[in-house]
Amino acid sequence: MSKDVQLLIIDDDPDFVEGIQSILTKAGYAVDVAYNPKEGFKALKSKKYDLLLLDIMMGRGAEGVMVARKINKDPVLREIPVLIITGIREQMAFLFPGQPIHPRFLPTDELLEKPVEPDFLLEKVNHLLELAKEKKSN
């Protein structure tokens, strides 16, 4: 079933991307990669994705947050489930001082820590896709 499920990874670390991409490809997902937010948006606009895997610490800081916020403002893009994969949870605390440690950028997101074990990654991806499907059929 995963054959025609299309995922997008936005992450600026090619080695890390390589790691999760091969896990996802092996599980049968079609995976595109963008190595910076700009490329990422170009991809998001050009094709329909079922899920986005988003890194937070990119470029000169937390550029992933900008991506998440921009997506949330777009009526079409905000329907895509977003799985955030980031370096460290605690780090979120000083990115968003005064806010809860696990800020909910988007209504459907999940937060995973790098590195992520293959089974756990697939479980989360699957779960988010299921949720999105349920939401659609309702």
């Binding site: 080695d15 091969s22 896990i23 605690e90 780090q91 605390a93 000083f94 074990e117």
Partner: protein, 372 residues
């Protein structure tokens, strides 16, 4: 981030005095000196001006009709404690000037005063203001450096390790059928060592970057006994390895406390980890809870190697580690310092009693929550 302000080129002074002649002479004397000066004839007007004018220094007459000088001073402290205040007082009321200074006023000037006297007092007051602002700016800068350092450590050290680990996961799966058992074991050891390293970096990052007091925003009513049981569960694999027995003695009817479950569990796990680490094989650890009046006490005792008297005062410092760590054990030197900070964020205290060769007892006291 709060804005960092420094003293402007033309320091702003506010004079609050009901006597016109005092206000006028202040204006005349001070305006010659590149100061910006504004005046108010009573406390209410003065405080109004204060809000929008944001002065560096305020001269306040203690004896005014209406709002008293003391009330005005108090409102100024609440508004911005870095504003320097100086009271104007008659000779007869020097006592009240002293009283005001005890409460945080920087200086006083008795009236009538000579122009030079006023200039001197103002000059000193502004020096003080400059110092206070500089101290705040320095402290902010230090905070920023800490945060930047944390971000750099995180990105430059953790990211590569994360990428390595991610690819090891993939390799291990891809090669699952091809590797011999001993080769698989090597891959597992690689993964384990990298995982330890990542954990260590995370712990250090917490010490450097996280203001533990932030957890207070999430405090809830919690009971301690389940937390302790959970901590014991987490530590179990380590106790099995060293054949150590943990006995639990909890008082059943214990009041709830106000706190954060996650970090409190971490604090207790830290104490238990240390107890295991510094115990000999086959050692015994006891953890107990009991209520003493308004406090709940948690004690963790072991019969391990103990702490030398000279070292006791250092054990709660960042990156300090004991020098009698049993063979095969490792320490990052931050467990106890984090524990102490967690407990203090809960308005509690932690202390230790220990004897070299006999063991240690760590005791935490936490206030029970006020609501019954």
């Amino acid at each position: 981030m709060e804005s960092i302000s420094t003293l402007t080129e033309n320091p702003k002074i506010l004079v609050i005095d009901d006597e016109e002649i005092v206000r006028e002479s202040c204006l005349r004397i001070l305006e010659k000196q590149d100061y910006q000066v504004r005046t108010a004839e009573d406390g209410i007007k003065g405080l109004e001006i204060l809000q929008e004018y944001q002065p560096d220094l305020v001269l306040v007459d203690l004896k005014m009709p209406g709002m008293s000088g003391f009330e005005v001073l108090e409102s100024i402290f609440t508004f911005d404690a870095t504003i320097v205040t100086i009271v104007i007082t008659g000779f007869a009321t020097v006592d009240s000037a002293v009283e005001a200074m005890k409460k945080g006023t920087y200086d006083f000037i008795p009236k009538p005063f000579q122009p030079d006297e006023l200039r001197l007092v103002i000059h000193r007051g502004l020096e003080r203001r400059k110092l206070v602002l500089e101290t705040i700016a320095l402290r902010n800068e230090k905070e920023m450096l800490r945060e930047h350092f944390a971000a750099i450590v995180s990105h430059e050290l953790k990211s590569p390790l994360g990428a390595v680990q991610q690819n090891l996961y993939v390799l291990a799966e891809d090669l699952d059928q091809k590797l011999s058992e001993s080769q698989k074991e090597k891959v597992q050891r690689l993964q384990k060592r990298i995982q330890d390293l990542i954990k260590l970096i995370n712990t250090w990052l917490r010490v450097i970057s996280v203001d533990i007091d932030n957890i207070q925003d999430q405090f809830q009513q919690i009971s301690l006994n389940p937390i302790i049981e959970q901590a014991i569960e987490i530590i179990e694999p380590h106790t099995v390895r060293k054949d150590i027995k943990i006995s639990l003695k909890v008082q059943d009817q214990i009041s709830e406390i106000e706190g954060d479950e996650g970090t409190l569990t971490e604090a207790i796990v830290n104490l238990l980890t240390n107890a295991v680490k510094y115990s000999k094989i086959g050692g015994k650890i006891e953890i107990s809870t009991q209520q003493n009046g308004d406090n709940v006490q948690i004690s963790v005792s072991d019969d391990g190697v103990g702490i030398a008297e000279d070292n006791i005062s250092f054990i709660f410092s960042d990156f300090y580690r004991g020098n009698n760590l049993p063979e095969g054990e490792r320490s990052s030197g931050v467990g106890l310092s984090i524990t102490k900070r967690i407990i203090e964020a809960h308005h509690g205290s932690i202390h230790v009693e220990s004897e070299l060769g006999k063991g240690s007892v760590f005791t935490i006291n936490l206030p029970i929550s006020e609501q019954k």
